[in-house]
Amino acid sequence: MRNNARSLLLLLLLLAAALLVGCGKHTESPTASSTAASGGKQITVCLLPKKKGLAYFTSCADGAQQAAKELGDVNLIYDGPTDGAPEKAASLIETWTLKGADAICVSPNDPSVLAPAMKAARAKGAHVLTWDADGQPDSRDYFVNQATSEQIGGALVDAMAKDLGGAQPTGKVAIVTATLTAANQNEWIAMMKERLKKYPQMQLVAIKPCNEDQSVAFQVTQDLMKAYPDLKGVFGISSVSFPGAAEAVKQAGKTGQVLVTGLSTPNAMKAYVQDGTVKSVILWNTQDLGYLTVYAAEALATGKLKPGATTFKAGRLGEKKIQGDNILLGNILVFTKDNIGKYDF
């Protein structure tokens, strides 16, 4: 026992020595890194998706990468939790802050969980933007706004109403969401409920989570169609639940009878749009979103974009309007049979 304790002590000393070595290195290194930085005046921009690995965010990141390449002075970091856990996202923001990131662009999976970390980052001098979804207003400088929750929720319901047809679209509808606790989805659902009041004949009968699993989305949709034989429409409001729901409708042979609409990248939904299972897919140009976000971040970090500005120039996107602290991307896209072939992301 005693012997063991002694060897542990020895190793602890070793550890301390190692730490000293590390710190020793540390004293020399700033010069090395600062020379590299001063050469090109590199700006570190960190891009945080809600959940890394989703094709939607990957295509945003592609656009971001384009922007970084065009700008030349941007060192882009794209990372996020692969399980979409908000606390891990918050941890990443803290890590980036510590590393001295110039701008942190956050797609908040859960605004309230991320807010403290975002505020702390701002307090430590980093510029914080939200993109894709907004956070708490005091937790960020700008929101790169492709669409507000209100607009998204409205667009979803409107699209369904249009697809169902008629002046008073009628029928039972259900929502297949990501998880019961997904903050964004919950906000959209709230907005959708709001908008549904406009269509009194459309009745929301169920909200089901798919737990970010396509096969659960599939099964839930199947069950919903059987439990509510007169179901007319299903909203798939995540890029996982949408194709799962569409596939269920298609395999049940209810193409045309049960309409599916939702949010997804066009590539994943092309087949369903072409065969008529899905009439409209709601989204925006994801690559442009990433692109605009990085341009905004760079402009903010270099001082090109100052508070109070009403427009700013974003590369190939040209002049972009700023409304208060919202940088507007443009319109929500509705992909239909006619235009979906033109998009590849």
Partner: protein, 314 residues
């Protein structure tokens, strides 16, 4: 034969070696990572895991397991948030959350200790049930807006050390003292190695197990409060997957999943190694998927090394 068999220490040395290796690598690649400021800041990511690892070590030491800790955290957080939003005083909410955590743990304990269902099965079921209750009573809604006095618990620091860190150190010291200097440590080992003989020796196996699982639930309550204070949010999805992280850290620390063998020092090293690895991989390579590969491999390699180094069983 220099090292007597079963001696805790070999695994700890392996871990220490790995940790030193990692830190040396970090020192070469990212010196900023090793500064005291960075380390203290980053440490805020680990306190809940570290806290939960303490009761988990003791439970695994008795050849048990608690898969429900993550879900218990969620349940406690939601109870806290819900009561806070109902306008009850914060202290009362926190006390209630802790009580719910202890009760959830005690329910596990009753099934494990009295009914004698395998802990893996009990906590597998409550893993689903507790999170389900959290979702049910909160309807998935996040609660926030807690007062600064409460936030201090998660965000404040005393003498440069974050409050959760202090809390952990106090808990660690308390558990270490109890394990080392009271009969409990030997008792837990004895139960883990041979529960029957422990019963025949008059050790209060049933009572101890009940307390252990209750303690685990209570700690999950504390972790939930720390989380709520640090992120200013209480929600039904917090702590998802936490149980696997905690178990990974404890097992990495050399505690035998079959019970009997294990040390707190090992667990601390295991937690530290997992934490430093994760943070460094995030820091340096910014690839979360790489993190999964590295931590999983770390577990496999270190336990494999331990198993191959240990004397062959008959």
């Amino acid at each position: 034969m220099k090292l007597p068999r079963g001696l805790p220490g070999r695994q700890e040395l392996v871990l220490l070696g790995l940790l030193i290796g990692l830190l040396l690598l970090a020192g070469r690649l990212a010196p900023d990572f090793l500064t005291a400021r960075a380390q203290i800041e980053l440490s805020t990511h680990v306190w809940e895991l570290a806290l939960l690892a303490l009761p988990m070590t003791l439970i695994i030491l008795t050849a048990g397991i608690d898969l429900s800790v993550g879900s218990t955290m969620a349940l406690c957080a939601v109870v806290f948030g819900l009561t806070f939003h109902a306008g009850w005083p914060v202290a009362l909410d926190a006390a209630l959350a802790l009580a719910v955590g202890a009760a959830a743990g005690a329910l596990n304990g009753v099934f494990v200790a009295f009914v004698r269902v395998h802990p893996l099965i009990v906590t597998l079921a409550t893993l689903a049930a507790y999170r389900g209750i959290a979702e049910g009573i909160s309807l998935g809604v996040p609660y926030s807006g807690f007062p600064p006095s409460f936030a201090f618990l998660g965000q404040g620091s005393v003498g440069g050390i974050p409050v959760p860190g202090l809390l952990f150190l106090v808990a660690l010291a308390a558990v270490a003292v109890i394990v080392k200097f009271t009969p409990l440590g030997l008792t837990l080992s004895a139960i883990g190695y041979n529960e029957t003989a422990s019963r025949f020796s008059g050790l209060a196996v049933t009572r101890i197990k009940l307390w252990l699982y209750t303690g685990s639930g209570l700690t999950a309550g504390v972790a939930a409060l720390l989380f709520a204070a640090r992120r200013n949010t209480a929600k039904a999805d917090i702590g998802t997957g936490m149980e696997l992280d905690v178990i990974t850290a404890v097992v990495l620390g050399g505690t035998s999943i079959f019970g009997g063998r294990g040390t707190l020092l090992g667990t601390v090293l295991g937690v530290l190694l997992i934490h430093e690895t994760r943070e460094f991989v995030s820091w340096e390579w910014s690839r979360d998927e790489l993190n999964l590969i590295v931590t999983g491999s770390l577990l496999l390699v270190s336990v494999l090394a331990d198993s191959l180094l240990s004397p062959k069983k008959r």
